[in-house]
C-alpha cells in the first residue's frame, strides 16, 4: 500500500499581529524576518492520518510539497515524523498558484509517482483557508473524495472514515484509491525528537521541476482583486437619560437607527 500526503509550507498563522504585513501593490503577504514558515496545521493532521495507516498496514508514506524556495529543514519534519520519502515540487512557476492550479500540479506529481492508494491533504491550508485543493486533486485524478475526516481506517480494501459534520460525525465508506481531507479532530502530528530529525537527513528527498512533470500550471481560475488588513474603528457614544428606563429606551432607538436591532 502506498499513501501520498500533500503538505503545504505556509507563513506561521500564529505570528504576532505586529509582524503581519501586506504589500498591497503586489497583493501579497510580506514574509516576516525571524518567524519561520510552518507546515500548514491541517496538513500535519493529514500526515498523522497517513502515519497511522502506516503503523497498521506497513504502508509506504510519500510526502509531497509544492512551491518555490521550499524550506528543507522545515519539510524534512515529515520524514522525521515517519514518512518514507519526501518529494519537493519546486519551481518558480509553482509560486503563487491558486487552488485549482495547485491541484493540477499535485495531481501530475501523483500520476508520476504511479501508485497512490490513498491521497491525504489537510481540510484547508491555514494561509488562504480555501479548502479546495484536496477536492480538486480528486477531480483531476478521477477519484472519490471524502472531506473533513476525523478518523480513518483501512478495512478489507475499503476506507472507513468518520467525517465531521455540524452536529457530530457521520461514517462514510469509500473504495480505494481515494482522496481524503483531514480535520484537526484527528489529532496532532506525533512528537518528533532530535534523533528523528537527524536520521531524517538520510531518507530520500527528490526535487521535481515543472519539466519533470511535463506540464506547466494552468492559468488561474480565481482573480485576487484586493488584499488588505481590515481597519478596526471604535467609536464610543454615551447615551444618557433622566432615568435608567429613559436611557435604555434611547439606547434601543439608537441601536435600531444603526440597524443593529
Amino acid at each position: 500500500m502506498q499513501v501520498v500526503v500533500c503538505i503545504k509550507q505556509i507563513l506561521d498563522p500564529e505570528m504576532p499581529r505586529s509582524a503581519f504585513k501586506i504589500d498591497s501593490e503586489k497583493k501579497r503577504v510580506v514574509p516576516p524576518q525571524g518567524i519561520p514558515p510552518v507546515i500548514s496545521p491541517f496538513d500535519e493532521n493529514a500526515l498523522e492520518a497517513a502515519l497511522r495507516i502506516k503503523d497498521e498496514h506497513k504502508a509506504k508514506v510519500i510526502a509531497l510539497s509544492m512551491g518555490n524556495r521550499l524550506s528543507r529543514p522545515l519539510l524534512t519534519k515529515a520524514l522525521a515524523a515517519g514518512a518514507d520519502e519526501l518529494i519537493l515540487l519546486e519551481d518558480t512557476v509553482f509560486e503563487y498558484l491558486d487552488s485549482f492550479a495547485s491541484a493540477s500540479v499535485l495531481a501530475a506529481a501523483i500520476r508520476k509517482i504511479g501508485v497512490a492508494d490513498i491521497v491525504f491533504t489537510g481540510r484547508q491550508a491555514a494561509d488562504w483557508d480555501s479548502g479546495i485543493t484536496g477536492c480538486a486533486i480528486a477531480e483531476e485524478l478521477g477519484l472519490p473524495c471524502v472531506t473533513i475526516a476525523r478518523k480513518v481506517e483501512v478495512n478489507r480494501g475499503q476506507m472507513r472514515i468518520e467525517r465531521v459534520i455540524a452536529d457530530g460525525f457521520e461514517i462514510v465508506q469509500a473504495p480505494l484509491p481515494c482522496v481524503i481531507t483531514v480535520d484537526s479532530d484527528l489529532g496532532g502530528l506525533r512528537h518528533v525528537t532530535l534523533q528523528d530529525l537527524s536520521s531524517a537527513r538520510k531518507k530520500p528527498l527528490q526535487v521535481w521541476k515543472a519539466g519533470d512533470l511535463n506540464m506547466s500550471p494552468p492559468p488561474p481560475r480565481c482573480e485576487l482583486l484586493d488584499l488588505y488588513v481590515p481597519k478596526r474603528e471604535t467609536v464610543c457614544e454615551v447615551i444618557n437619560g433622566k432615568t435608567p428606563e429613559e436611557a435604555a429606551a434611547r439606547l434601543a432607538d439608537r441601536l435600531r437607527e444603526e440597524g443593529f436591532l
Binding site: D12, R69, L74
Partner: protein, 428 residues
C-alpha cells in the same frame, strides 16, 4: 519588527575587514595568551566566524547574492555565542553595529525557513511548555515548593516580583540558588513574590537565535503580566533574562510600569543600606567573571534611523546623532562591590574584564546545541582565572555557572565556581 537585516546594510557595507573585532582593543590587551575576545574566531580561525566575517555573510544574504544556503553556512552562523565582544571592540574605534546584524542575519534565515533541527526543538519546547529546557510547564514552580513566598499568579500582591528564569527553575543543582535568593530578599525585609508555575521564559534564546516572532510573544506576555500584577520592580538573577529585559523589551513600545533590576544591583543596595550584614569571613582568593548579558549587552538598545552624510568624501555624519552602545554602561560595579563586602575575601581581576570580558560560552543556545564550543570557551576562561591565582570564579548568571561547572568536571579541575548569591549566603 525589531530585527530587519536591511536596516544594517550600511553598517555591513562599511565594515573594512580590519579584524579589530577579533581582539580586545590594543590598549586593553595584557598578554598574548589572553588576547582573543571572540570564542568563535579563536576556536575556528576562519574569517567567516568573526564579527567582520559575519557582516560579510549578512551583506551577501541581504543583497541576495547567496544562491544556496548550505549546512556549513548555518553552522557558521550559529557557532557563535552572540556575546557581543566583537561589537564592543569594533566600537572602540568605529561606530558600526556588529551584534545586531548578527541577530538580524539569523532572523533573516529563520524567516526563510533555514533552521537547525536542534533549535527547532528549543522553540517547540518554548511554544508548548513555555521554557527552553524541554521540561513540562507544570514543573516550573517546583523549585519554590515549601518556600514561604507569595505567589502572584494566585492573586497575591507584592512590591517586587522575582523572575527565576528557565535554568534556575529546572536545573536541580542550581535551583537552590533561586531559593537562596528569595530567602535573602525576605530576610532583608523585601516584599517579594514569584509567579510559580505561571512564570514563563523571558524569550532571550528565541531572540538571539533569530526567532523574533516567538520572542515578541513571550516579551509582550511578560510585560502584560508584570504590569497587571502591579509590581514596581522585577528582579532576576539570570543575566540572560536581565539583558534581554533591559536592552530589548523597551523596543516593543509597550509601557513597562516596573523597573528591571539584576539581583546584584539589589543586593548591593541592601548591603549599602545595612539591611544585609555580611559578617562571616571567607578567606579566599576569588575572581569575578562578567556575564555578557549583565555587562556589555545590558544597555538599552536604541535603533538608529536617519540620514547619513559623507563629509570630505570620507567621514560619515549622521542626522540625528546616533546613540552608540559601547558596553560602557553595563552592570560592572555592583557585583564587585558585593564581593568586596565579604570579609576576608580577596578579589583579583582577570585580564579580560567588563566590556572586554571573555564569554563563558553558554550564550545564544550554544550550551544546549553545540556543547563542544561552550565547554572549550569555558575552559579558556577557567585557565584565565587560574592564571591570576584565583581559587574560585564568581559569576552572576546561571548559564555561566552551569557551563563553568561542566567544563571543570570534564577537565577534572579543582577551581570552585560560585554564584554571587551563594557567596552572600555563606557570608551572612
Amino acid at each position: 519588527m525589531i530585527l530587519e537585516l536591511k536596516d544594517y546594510v550600511g553598517d555591513m557595507k562599511r565594515c573594512a575587514r580590519c579584524s579589530l573585532c577579533k581582539w580586545p582593543p590594543l590598549a586593553q590587551m595584557k598578554s598574548w595568551r589572553f588576547s582573543n575576545n571572540c570564542p568563535s574566531i579563536a576556536r575556528y580561525n576562519f574569517h567567516s566566524y568573526s564579527g567582520g566575517g559575519r557582516m560579510a555573510l549578512g551583506l551577501a544574504l541581504a543583497e541576495g547574492r547567496l544562491d544556496e544556503i548550505t549546512d556549513e553556512l548555518l553552522n557558521i552562523v550559529y557557532r557563535c555565542t552572540a556575546c557581543g565582544a566583537c561589537d564592543s571592540s569594533c566600537k572602540y574605534n568605529a561606530e558600526l553595529e556588529v551584534l545586531w546584524p548578527i541577530y538580524s542575519t539569523r532572523a533573516h534565515l529563520v524567516g526563510m525557513g533555514y533552521l537547525l533541527p536542534e533549535h527547532s526543538m528549543i522553540i517547540e519546547s518554548l511554544r508548548k511548555e513555555d521554557n527552553t529546557m524541554m521540561q513540562p510547564k507544570a514543573d516550573r514552580g517546583k523549585w519554590a515548593e515549601g518556600l514561604d513566598v507569595k505567589d502572584l499568579s494566585k492573586g497575591e500582591k507584592a512590591e517586587v516580583v522575582y523572575h527565576a528564569g528557565c535554568l534556575y527553575c529546572y536545573d536541580p543543582e542550581l535551583s537552590a540558588i533561586a531559593r537562596d535568593t528569595v530567602t535573602l530578599l525576605k530576610e532583608a525585609g523585601v516584599d517579594v513574590g514569584i509567579r510559580g508555575s505561571q512564570e514563563t521564559c523571558c524569550g532571550s534564546i528565541a531572540f538571539q537565535l533569530g526567532f523574533q516572532g516567538e520572542f515578541i510573544k513571550f516579551a509582550e506576555s511578560n510585560i502584560d503580566d508584570w504590569n497587571a500584577a502591579g509590581v514596581t520592580e522585577v528582579i532576576t538573577s539570570c543575566a540572560c533574562g536581565f539583558g534581554i529585559m533591559k536592552s530589548v523589551y523597551p523596543l516593543l513600545g509597550k509601557e513597562m510600569k516596573f523597573k528591571v533590576l539584576h539581583i546584584t544591583q539589589y543586593l548591593d543596595e541592601l548591603i549599602k543600606q545595612g539591611k544585609l550584614k555580611l559578617s562571616r569571613s571567607l578567606s579566599m582568593r576569588v575572581t569575578y567573571h562578567d556575564p555578557c548579558n549583565l555587562g556589555r549587552k545590558s544597555e538599552t538598545y536604541v535603533p538608529w534611523k536617519g540620514e547619513e552624510k559623507k563629509v570630505l568624501g570620507q567621514f560619515i555624519l549622521r542626522e540625528p546623532e546616533k546613540i552608540v552602545h559601547r558596553g560602557w554602561n553595563g552592570i560592572y560595579e555592583p557585583p564587585r562591590n558585593i564581593i568586596r563586602s565579604v570579609p576576608g575575601i580577596h578579589l583579583v581581576e582577570m585580564e579580560r574584564i567588563m566590556e572586554y570580558s571573555w564569554c563563558c560560552g553558554a550564550g545564544s543556545g550554544v550550551k544546549q546545541t553545540m556543547n563542544d564550543l561552550a565547554l572549550w570557551t569555558a575552559s579558556e576562561r577557567i585557565e584565565e582565572a587560574k592564571s591570576v591565582g584565583s581559587e574560585a570564579i564568581i559569576t552572576a548568571c546561571p548559564w555561566c555557572e552551569r557551563n563553568f561547572k561542566d567544563a571543570i568536571t570534564e577537565a577534572g579541575d579543582n577551581l570552585m565556581v560560585y554564584d554571587i548569591v551563594e557567596l552572600v549566603r555563606q557570608a551572612l
